[in-house]
Structures are given as C-alpha cells and as structure tokens.
Amino acid sequence: MTDSPINGVAEQVARGTPQPLATRFRGLSDRAIAWIFISPTIVLLLAINIFPLIWTVYLSFTNYRANRPGRPIEWVGTRNYERLLGSEDIWGYLQATAHFVCWTMALQVLLGLGLALLINRNFKGAGFWTTVILIPMMLSPAVVGVFWTYLYQPQTGIFSYILNLFGDFGPIDMIGSVGLAPWSIIIVDTWMWTPYIMLLCLAGLRSIPEYLYEAAEIDRANALQKFWHITLPRVLPFLMLAVLFRGIENFKMFDMVVELTSGGPGSTTELASINLKREAFESWRTGYSSAFAVILFVTVFGLGNIYVKALNRVKQ
C-alpha cells in the first residue's frame, strides 16, 4: 500500500465518522444492554407510578389540603385512618360498593357462562351473534352511562316502556328511585361486561378435548353429569380469573356510575371511588382522601395478588 494523499483523506474521513451503534454496543455485557433498554421504562414508572404512590402514603399521615398550598403541613400520624375506619358513612359507601360488586359478579357469571355454552354449540350464525354480543364491551363506559340515562327515562325511555308491556307499572324511575337506583347501575354493568365473562368461558370450553365427552357417553353419563364432572371443572379456572379481574375493576368503578347516577339519589349509589373523588376534589381534604386511596389501593393490591396466583394456576 502506498501512502498516497487520497489514502490519508480516506483515513481522516473514516476517523471522523461515528462508529455504528452495533460496534459501540459490542463491548458491553448483556446485562448492561438490558439495563440500557429497560431504564427509560423504569424512569417513567418511578416518575408516574412509584413517586405519586409514595407521596400519597406520606400525605395520608398529614392534614394537607391541596386548595391551600401555603398552609404548613402538619403530621397527624394515623388519625386519618382512624377516622376513616370508624366512619359509618365510609362503611356505607363500601357496602354500596360490595352490593354492586357481588350482584354484578353473580349475574355476569350466570349469564356469561350460559351464553358461552350456547355459542359453543356452533349453530348457524354463531360467529355473527358472538360479534353482536361483544359490542357493549367495546363501548366507552362514559358513553354507556350517558345513553342508558336516556333508556332509563321514566316517561320516554324504552326500559320503562318494555317493563310496562308486562303489566301496568306506570312510569318507572330507575335512576331517581332510592330502591331501584342501585339495581340500575348493576343492570348496565351486567349488560356491558357479561360478554367479557362469556369470552373467557368460551376459551375454557373450546379447550376441553372432545374425547372426554365421548368417554362420558360410553359411560352413559347424562347431560347434567357431563356438565358437572367435565365442563365445570375445566371452565372453572377461566371463570375464576374472569371473576377476579372484573371484581377488581368493579371495586374501582367510577366513570359509568358517575355518568349514570352521579352517586344519587342522595348517596344510594355513591361507590367508594366516587366518594374518594368528592373528598379529594370537592371537599379538598387531601390528607384524608389520600388515606382512603391507600386503603383502596392496598385492598386492590391484595386482590391483585390472588389474581396473579389464580393466573399461575390456570397456566399450569
């Protein structure tokens, strides 16, 4: 190789060009590369999830009010928790939440499993009906809340009209009546989320091998025995998963109920999360509402642990 001026220029250009990324990464260990890739996510998680969580836990032990930022923050220890866990109002809101969660779960499991068993029969047009049944699940909860307020109108709503076909009930005020309002939100949630339970049950039903039913036929098992000894045990893990997932979601239910009843009449349908929002952003009792948020968070986190355990069991 001659040491020509052209070679010298080429060498200078080569030195000036930055090294490709792959060459620069080549010297790093696998562990270092993994850290480089996950560090943006970790930073985001710390900033958006972990820091506010720690801050909320700290605020729950203070008398901080977000509408008075200049006021000195006083450490009150566990006073907020003691007041929350001794309050009959909070107890009532959690009972309203329990009523909502228990009834929605029971109805959704019954209807979801029933629909899944029907769809699993593979009749003509089963695909079309599956799609139709799944539509409510795809809608936004706020939209569902708004249009069900129209359906529930006592004078002009279709709900009242249909019920009056079965008897002379007169105008039925589902949202305005103390006795019916809790059921109005249960009906809407059931209408919206039964397809989700159906979908998971359908996945469970499709995973049952046909030879189990054939063996049961040989043993002269009737339909009920086949359901009790083959179908139900095989679908149960999927059903448990769906119930846990929907249970956690309904425990946190906010948007659909706010659009539908705003917690009324009175506080009949005021679920825990709705009261939490009121305490935090209407009464501005930030410390107190932080303590309430921590209680709800620990409850949901605990239920989440059970959910993960159930998920692992389904995987096995």
Partner: protein
C-alpha cells in the same frame, strides 16, 4: 453434623411457599369481607389491618422456596 442438616431440612419444610401463600390469601380474602360486610363496625375497623397483614405477608412468602 446430621443434626444441623435435620434442622435445616425442618426449617425448609416449615417455610414452604404453598401453605404460607394460602394463609396470606385467606387473610386478604377475610380482610376484604370484613371491609365490606354490613354487620359490625368493629370488624370494619380492623379490616384494613388484616388486608395489609395479608398483602405484606403474601409479598414476603412469595419469596419462600416451593
């Protein structure tokens, strides 16, 4: 020597994940029921402590060997 081995085997058997995880799960479930039951305000008052104990317990015992 064998006595030490027996002790460590006994400890390992005692700190198995399965039963402890089941106990923590039961505590969480009991706490949630206490939080939402309509019968006793006293039970409601202790519910958070039970859920917290169950949840922290679950996090700890999930690190135990199978």
């Amino acid at each position: 020597m064998s006595e030490t081995r027996n002790q460590s085997v006994g400890l390992a058997r005692f700190f198995r994940r399965g039963p402890w995880e089941n106990a923590a799960t039961a505590a969480i479930a009991a706490g949630v029921v206490m939080l939402m039951q309509p019968f006793s305000l006293t039970l409601f008052g202790y519910s958070f402590a039970v859920i917290l104990a169950g949840t922290v317990g679950f996090v700890i015992v999930s690190h135990f060997p199978e």
